[in-house]
Amino acid sequence: MAISLKVNGVVHSVTAEPDTPLLYVLRNDLALNGAKFGCGLEQCGACTVLLDGIPARSCVRAIQDIGQQEITTIEGLGTVDKPHPLQKAFMDEQAAQCGYCINGMIMTAKELLDRIPHPTEADVRATLAPNLCRCGTHNRIIRAVLRAAQANGKT
């Protein structure tokens, strides 16, 4: 059956079972690579997207439950040529090794900076604690978020 989803400002009609997790629709129907399958158990955060600006684990959110909420994926933040300040800060800090978790880090940090434009390091650590990184890039990720917050002040 067809379900209508608003993703990065564009309304899409998607034909899939209503209980389909949003993640698979984003990746396979809309060809958006950003959100990643990590666990399917909302434990790791690799699949994080924003629903009306709030981080959500797309691996367990059925498309029938999204309703009118606006979905934002990392593709909706910026591009390589015109990156969002967070994306630019992650590039500037070289804040990735394998990078598989980085989507979730950036999307979770996006909501933090929307809420607290100038967070402390402790704020950043606490907010990102539910997102798992395996390569040990933690410090660079924290620095990138703090750098993006500084850029916030300048724009």
Binding site: A16, E17, T20, P21, Y24, R27, N28, A31, L32, N33, G34, K36, F37, G38, C39, G40, L41, Q43, C44, A46, T73, I74, E75, L77, G78, T79, V80, P83, Q87, F90, M91, Q94, A95, A96, Q97, C98, G99, Y100, C101, I102, N103, I106, V124, R125, A126, L128, A129, P130, N131, L132, C133, R134, C135, G136, T137, H138, N139, R140, I141, I142
Partner: protein, 736 residues
Amino acid sequence: MNAPNLSRREFAAALGGIVLSFSLAPRLALGQQPANLPGSLNGNRMLDAWLRINQDGTATVFTGKVELGQGILTALAQIASEELDLPLASIRMISGDTGQTPNEGQTAGSQSIEASGTALRMAGAEARSILIDLAAKRFSVAADTLTVSDGIITGRDGRKVGYGELAGEVDLHREATAKVAPKPPAEHKIVGKAIPRRDIPAKVTGGAAYVQDIRLPGMLHGRVVRPPRYGAKLEGFDEAAAKALPGVTAVVRDGSFLGVVAEREEQAIKARDALKKSARWSGGTALPDPAKIYEHLLSLAMDDKVISDKQAALPDGAKRVDATYHRPYMAHASIGPSCSLAQVQDGKLTIWTHTQGVFPLRATMAKALDMPASAIRCIHAEGSGCYGHNAADDVALDAALLARATAGRPVRVQWMRDDEFMWEPYGPAMVMRAGAALKDGRIVDWNYDVWSNSHNMRPGDPDGVNLLASWYLEKPKQPGPPRAAPQPAGAGDRNAIPLYDLPRSRITSHLIKEMPLRVSALRTLGAYANVFAIESFMDELAAEAEADPVAFRITHLKDPRAKAVLEAAAKAADWKPGQKGTGTSGRGVAFAKYKTLATYVAIVVDLELDRASGRIKVPRAFVAVDSGQIINPDGLTNQIEGGIVQSTSWTLHEQVRFDKTGILSQSWDSYPILTMNEAPSVTTVLIDRPNEHPLGAGEASQGPTAAAIANAFTAATGKRIRELPLHPERVKAALA
């Protein structure tokens, strides 16, 4: 080498468009003994196996090493750019493709810079010199009157010719001589610089960065249904019900291998769930009692090998110290479960894979599928970080088995989280026993034994098929025998021979042959456990000798580079000899030279302890690193810091849980890892040695980190924990 090279060309012809010109080096064809060439040039001797000059003035660089998130393709591009005098943006990298690149085995053991980097350095220098000779001929001037910058060769009279204009003439289809000297480090403009990684922009913007992101036309989705425990036999399942589910296009059973293919990913997952419920399994192997796992391992058959035996007189009155250490099974636990795509067309199989070695995988896949290697092409695409031999190769065979049932349509298979935790090959559990005698503050005798399973059950084994699904087929394949690896690199005994100056020592490596849990290579192999044991023991000896741990180590070192990293780490940390812990805080130091032939690392960590909960926190680490000539300082720092943070996770939290019925670690709840709140901040001091060989660093900091944490715990509390991990229950037991 003959057959694969020919078939590679045939294969490319079938693909169309790609012109390949691999061939045998002439002397090899004549059966003469070829001269040794440096790095991976030795096994891949033609210049055009490594690089081609294109008509647009760019160069295409081929490497058999692959990107694993360690930044290797950026570092190799830097080397090629430097030696060719081409801008970095003009270097196109092609890596890990059995149809196109040199065979460099596995990307493992922190050897890519040494092997592939050396080959590219020599090949690049030689290609540049060939291009200059061509320009000299064209201008009728002497080659040494020409200069090169950004791929433009300029004569004294101002005439210029670009590499692109010479592309038609330049013949790189010749055996490398390695006679052209690469640039001296003092002239380096790109090597040694913190160049941004090429892969990061796509990774932070949702670009197609991973094998998981490949979408082929007509692609289907597959999932596998693994047994509840090792070795169980599939007795039956409800095939009709699975086939009736929406979107299911094939249910594949071969012996006890069971998988399903569907039009949509969520349909494949639902079908997997249904098959899991209806599948009936019998038999399988019981696992050992986890409470007695180390005793059990020591009771199994083993091969013993003395790897160091130094005789000297034992002085009278020496004081003996003995201690035994343990490390549990540990998981690679990639954030992204393993994934692969496969397609069968016209009898040819193409695999997209995040394996660490496309050529070994192809060879083993051929045996598993009973098809010629020449009919298989393995193409690397990056996956989630693997940290060694995880399930990357296994899922490739799964995908191939499912792709045989889809009439030419490609299949994408990704493992589920529980598949990854329960079926990946773990880093082996190990036992380390150390003994020493002290006299007048010096170690006068040293005994060390390490017991471990094999750390190399990878694909590519000459005698067996090291791919999971192959053991469950109707006609099952057998894994290869457990293998040790020779010193100095070693495997279970990696870093079992310390760098310390020991007048008398006997070091024995015991390879336990039976493997109750599936095991293979995890980042550092045995080095993590051996350095944990040896460097914990060094602190125990320093305490016995009433010596400062930093000074005690330096006293026992001759190598000035080893002393230098210890001094630099101590200085960065403002280490104060005799500084006491507080009961809830303390600091510890450790040192190792990875594999005793690669990067030197010394580290000081600060530890904080919550005695009530038993929780340890490592707020800070100070590390000094000497990896010879530095190719990319930012990349090196990232690898060293990443190793410290990952090792903090290993050391504080990680062990694979199991009981007799099977593996209990099935999700992040049952295999917790370090969170953002717990990550130590790291101060890194790099000691650049531009005139020394560049050394691998990806695995250099993990062992020292573990020991420094254990030593800091002892400094804080006066208690010693000799069994990993230092999780709260164990900490509370030590304090009780």
